[in-house]
């Protein structure tokens, strides 16, 4: 939005605008335990998209009336820092951020064993540091790491990625330009070991066949991201042991 430039050619000689193959993820970086105060934290980068997630809890709920008798409440806030995108984002919560906070919470709920901590809260803060497409799925990937880092019991990690349709082709892990000028953007998150899809949105137009193919492509990417998540967690604790 805001820019009035013409749509660039998104596929050139069978490669994408940044040189990737159709089913290729951007370079991914993950670091666990990046904050001192939070019970768990992680920074995840997919190319130029960089997102911080912090987890506090299980801890006492304030205000008390929000507490649930049979489980922990999950509170989740997704937010874009004001300088994280091309145009300055007003710090006031946008409708988009309110919706994304909800769908991200619902993507993480099935993984968290909240029934073990009645009358408490688990707070998840997702801060987009730099946005270049796929911020919600990067945020979910980071939040799952932060939850694991906080020692919150989980059924599985949650990993996410967006599949897009650009110039008629289905491509994995779309960046901002592909999102802006593409025909479809489909963010997916799943618990890979259990085969459970916990977030699925489609913004755009796909045929039935394309949708089935896009979903399979997303799940393939998610399995790769999952391996990187496990590696990132292992790395933190292995270095701690050696030190």
């Amino acid at each position: 939005m805001g820019s009035s430039s013409e749509k660039p050619q998104l596929i050139i000689d069978g490669k994408r605008i940044d040189g990737r193959a159709f089913d290729e993820l951007r370079p991914i970086e993950m670091e666990v335990g990046v904050l001192k105060n939070a019970d768990g934290s992680a920074i995840v980068a997919f190319g130029n998209t960089r997102v911080l997630a912090a987890v506090y809890g299980p801890r006492e709920v304030m205000p008390k009336h929000v507490a649930l008798a049979d489980r922990a409440v999950i509170r989740c806030r997704y937010r874009m820092l004001s300088f994280s995108a091309e145009e300055r984002k007003s710090p006031a919560p946008s409708r988009r951020e309110i919706e994304l906070s909800k769908v991200i919470r619902e993507a993480l709920e099935p993984a968290i064993m909240s029934e073990l901590f009645p009358r408490t809260t688990i707070d998840i803060f997702i801060e987009v540091l730099n946005a270049d497409g796929g911020t919600r799925t990067t945020g979910i990937t980071a939040a799952a790491l932060a939850l694991a880092d906080a020692g919150v019991p989980m059924r599985d990690l949650v990993a996410g990625v967006a599949v897009g349709k650009v110039d008629g082709k289905l491509v994995l892990d779309i960046n901002k330009v592909e999102d802006m000028y593409g025909e479809a953007d489909m963010p997916v998150a799943a618990m890979p070991s259990l085969g459970r899809i916990t977030l699925l949105q489609l913004n755009g137009v796909l045929t039935h066949e394309e949708f089935v193919e896009a979903l399979a492509l997303a799940l393939k990417g998610i399995r790769k991201i999952y391996e990187l998540q496990k590696e990132a967690l292992r790395k933190k604790y292995v270095t701690t042991e050696e030190a």
Binding site: M1, G2, S3, S4, V66, L68, R71, A72, V73, I74, R75, C76, R77, R95, R96, I98, E99, S101, K102, V103, I104, R105, E106, E109, P110, S114, D123, A184, M186, M191, G195, R196, I197, T198, L199, L200, Q201, L202, N203, G204, V205, L206, T207, H208, F211, V212, L215, A216, L219
Partner: protein, 277 residues
Amino acid sequence: MSITPEQPVIPKLKYNAILNVLAKGQHIDKRPLNTYRSISIKTNVVPNAEGSALVSIGSTQVLAGVKLDVGQPYADTPNEGVLIVNAEFLPAASPTFEPGPPDENAIELARVIDRSLREPKVVALDKLAIVPGKKVWIVWVDIYVMDHDGNLLDASMLAAMAALASARIPRVVSVDPNTGDVMIDRETREDRLPINKYVCTVTVAKIGSYLVVDPNLEEEAVASARLAISVAEDGSIVGMQKMGMGYFTEDEVKKAVGLAIGVAPSLIAAIKSAVQP
């Protein structure tokens, strides 16, 4: 912040009773699993709105209205009209709805509908420029949930679509050649709002391991997750949103999409017959 909502307490006995009925291939109100409750769509129910529709699905009632204003286009689409969708869950509609600004559920519903209308270009916004680059029609779609008995999203989409398709554009009286100011006459409505294609939204609820369309409120309360699938009249998928605290397997997602594509034509036919001139 988005907070885990308080879940209604459902006695195990009732939950099992619902599953037993679903196992027989029926909703708790006896209709087959892949059918809707009775749908009624009445258009032009609000004379002052340029377009309006009152939709009921069973006891769920949603009123949608379209107002047209003259305004400025977005910088990146100088020759196109502007579409804005809002939704409000009226406190009259449910003992659990409270007055105040739209909560995350109302915002999510409005945004899912907005995307499902925008992406397939349901409204021909390119035909809504009055003074290209300067003055265009702003299409306000406002959705009010009046009575909540489940499946608000599907009902809201039917209402939004019917209100848009039955809307008529006020007459443009004059355009000042110097300032570009536009005078309109709201009393005289002329052409219909240009519509490229019709879409509907089918929400599939997962209850136990059953996938059902059009859950009523009681069924929704025991559904672990819902998948809203927007389908255009050509059978393409134009939007999707997983909602709720549960999950779907890949197979379940594919089955849900199949269900949605199967029932969508009957919903689109219902809208079309309601907006016949």
